[in-house]
Structures are given as C-alpha cells and as structure tokens.
Symmetry: C2
Subunit: 198 residues, 2 copies
DNA sequence: CAGCTGACAGATTTCAATATCTGTCATTCC
DNA sequence: GGAATGACAGATATTGAAATCTGTCAGCTG
C-alpha cells in the first residue's frame, strides 16, 4: 500500500486525496486516511496543507481547473464568434454532464466540496466568464455581437445557462428533452446578442 | 391553546401546520405538534391527511399558489407583450426575493419542503410557464415576438431566469448588483424574442 | 538541519440505548 | 352513525458515553 520512497509532494498528496474521496466519499474521508494511503504519518500531510479545509479546496481547484483548460481551447479556435460561443457553451454542458454521468458518486462528492465554498468556486466562475468575455468581445469587434459591454453580456449568458452547468441541476441533465431545452436557450441568447437594437 | 370548538377542517389544519413549521422548523415539526396546537388528538389530523408527507405537500402547495395568483394578474394586464413580460419576470423575482428577505427562516423551511418533491413543485412550474406562454403567445400574435413555438420559448425564458427565482440562489439575491444582472438577462432574452430572424 | 514522527488536547463523529413519532384501528362519545 | 380518541407496533430521532479525528509540537532520524 505504501509506494516506494518518493519524496512527499503536494501533488502526490492531492492524488491520494482524490483517491480517498472516491473510495470513502466526502463525509468519511479523513486526512488520516490520506496519510495511510501514502504510507506516512498525518503530521506530514499538515506540512503541505495547513488545514483539512485547505486540502479539500486544493483538490477541488484541481478538479475545476481541468474543465477550464478543456474549454480554453475553444476560445481561440477557428470559426465565427457565434459558432465559438455555441461550441463553448455546448462544451461546458457536455463536460459537466459527462462528469455527472460517468461517475455519479464522485460527482456528488465534488458537488459537496464546491458547496463548502471558499474562494475557489468564485475564481473558477470568474475564469469561465473571462473566457466567455473574450468570445463575445471578438464578436463586438467584428460587429457580430453589437453589445456595449462584453463582460456584462458574458455574465448574463453564463447566468442564463446556469441550468446546464450548475451541479444543483445535475439530475435534470439525463431527462429526455434537455438537449432541445439547451438549444432553445442558447438560440434565444445568441439571437439576443446578435440583435442590433439598443 | 385549544381554540373554541369549531369543526376541524383541512383548512384549519393547514393554518396550524404553517404555524408549527414557522415555530419549530421543518426538521422538528411533528404532526403531534400540529394536533396539540389545534387541541385535538393526532389521530384526527390523519382523518384529513393520509400521511405526514401529504400534509406537508398540501401546505407547500398553498404557499406556492399564493405566488402564482399574484402573478396571474399581470398576464392579462394592459401594455405591450414586452412590457407585460418584463413586469411578470420582475414580479416573480420581487415576490421570491421578498419572501426570502422578510422571513429567512420560514423561506428556508419551505425550501426544504419543496426539495422533498412530490408533484407539487412540478405543477407549480407548469402553472408559471403556462402564464408565461400566454404572454409570449400574445406577442407572437401581434408580431412583437416572432417565435414559432410560444410554449417552448416560455420554457426557455423561465429556465434562463432561474437564477432569479430558484430558491437555491436565494443567498445571491441580496448581493449588490443583482438588479443589474437581472436587467441584463431579461434585456438579452427580450431582444432574442423580438428578433425577427429564423 | 530539513523532513518526518507520534503522543497529545480539544473538537467531532459514532454507536447503542432510550424516547418520541408515525400511522392504524378497536373503542368511545355525541 | 359519523367524528374523535388513545393505546399500540414499528420506524425515526435524541442523547450521552466512547471512539476517532484534527491540528500542534517536542523530539527523532538520516
């Protein structure tokens, strides 16, 4: 169970933590468990993370960042701003839905963790709306999205699509007809962004 | 504590239940408490409601219906479809925010109850989107909202504004800037509905 | 000496015994 | 006879004592 004597690094601790969370769930995962999985004393874990909460935050950040990175590629991809916006929103929905569907228990675990909010979730959302802003700003430049304030528009789009990325709605993502609902909302928003008036 | 010998009616039981919920919260409110508040045995309560769950559902339905009724007045009010749509969405947001702000504990109590979903919440949402559909259909008739399927558009609008009526977001309703966020989302949606293309 | 350990105090969680609650129904009351 | 009661069985919640966990730190180890 104890792996060969590699140096104990924050990264290795995070991997072990993810493992322990997957096995025991958020309620029963202890830092003693994490230490045991690494073959060290729990005191050593506290050398790298000041508190259990900090450890949980770090592991949550890792998880969220994986999604951000996947989407970052779409921001500067080819295609019109409309196409990129649509692809980005679809990518976000798809990523979340996939995570929720593949391993519901792990997804539930991370949903609990994200609810123990620190600043991590807020930063993740800021990151995502930042990506959205860049797409919409490109459209503002080209005249495709005649909006006065791309950042405000990005926030509005992000909030309006919450039902398709907020984990609270995860159960609804398997219902028949969600894809049509998603398309209906996105169409409406893109038409709103594209509308010249005002 | 026992009121004068009126006949025991479902309505009186619901009033007492609301009271008990307000006092004890959702976790500790028992049907024995309700019976005691009415000065009857708990067996009598079971004559009117088959189970505790049914009683909770009924009291929740009452609470939700009060909001529906307030909004129903706006559907057939004067003004253009745009104006009525805006007023209706603002009314929904205002009603929810008011309930949440006035008595946070009671609101939290009902949030718990609505999460114990039966069919009640679904019916409430169907009711609300029905009202929305009527406004949008009026706009479709007059050419103000050139949409092919008013009911689908209504669902999209309802879902896109979830952040401003779904109780899960109640904490965000007191943050500074929510009103601007609300306006930004609603503007975007109304522009989308008004856009002739497609 | 830098990194790790393990014993410790206080906080939190678990577990099992006890108390309360839900839902039923034979009986009482008007 | 229709409505209400209260005793009852099984399910659920509460409680307090014991076990475990978190976070610290003096000392060990390589």
């Amino acid at each position: 169970m104890a792996p060969p004597t590699e140096t104990l690094t924050a990264e290795r601790i995070l991997e072990a933590t993810e493992d322990v969370l997957r096995r025991h769930g958020p309620a029963k995962a202890t830092v003693v468990d994490v230490a045991r999985a690494l073959g060290v004393s729990h005191g050593s874990v506290y050398r790298h993370f000041r508190t259990k909460a900090a450890l949980r935050e770090a592991v949550t950040k890792r998880w969220l960042d994986r999604t951000s990175q996947k989407l970052a590629g779409i921001v500067d991809a080819d295609g019109s701003p409309q196409e990129r916006l649509r692809a980005w929103l679809a990518g976000l929905f798809e990523a979340k839905r996939h995570k929720a569907g593949d391993d519901p228990e792990l997804f539930a675990t991370y949903t609990v963790l994200t609810d123990e909010v620190g600043t991590v979730v807020g930063e993740h959302i800021a990151d995502l709306t930042g990506q959205l802003t860049r797409i919409i700003a490109a459209g503002a430049g080209s005249g495709a999205f005649p909006v006065p304030d791309p950042a405000a528009a990005a926030r509005a789009v992000f909030q309006a699509t919450g039902r398709f990325h907020d984990p609270h709605y995860a159960r609804a993502w398997t219902a028949p007809g969600v894809d049509e609902e998603f398309t209906a909302v996105v169409d409406l928003l893109i038409r709103g962004l594209s509308s010249p008036s005002r």
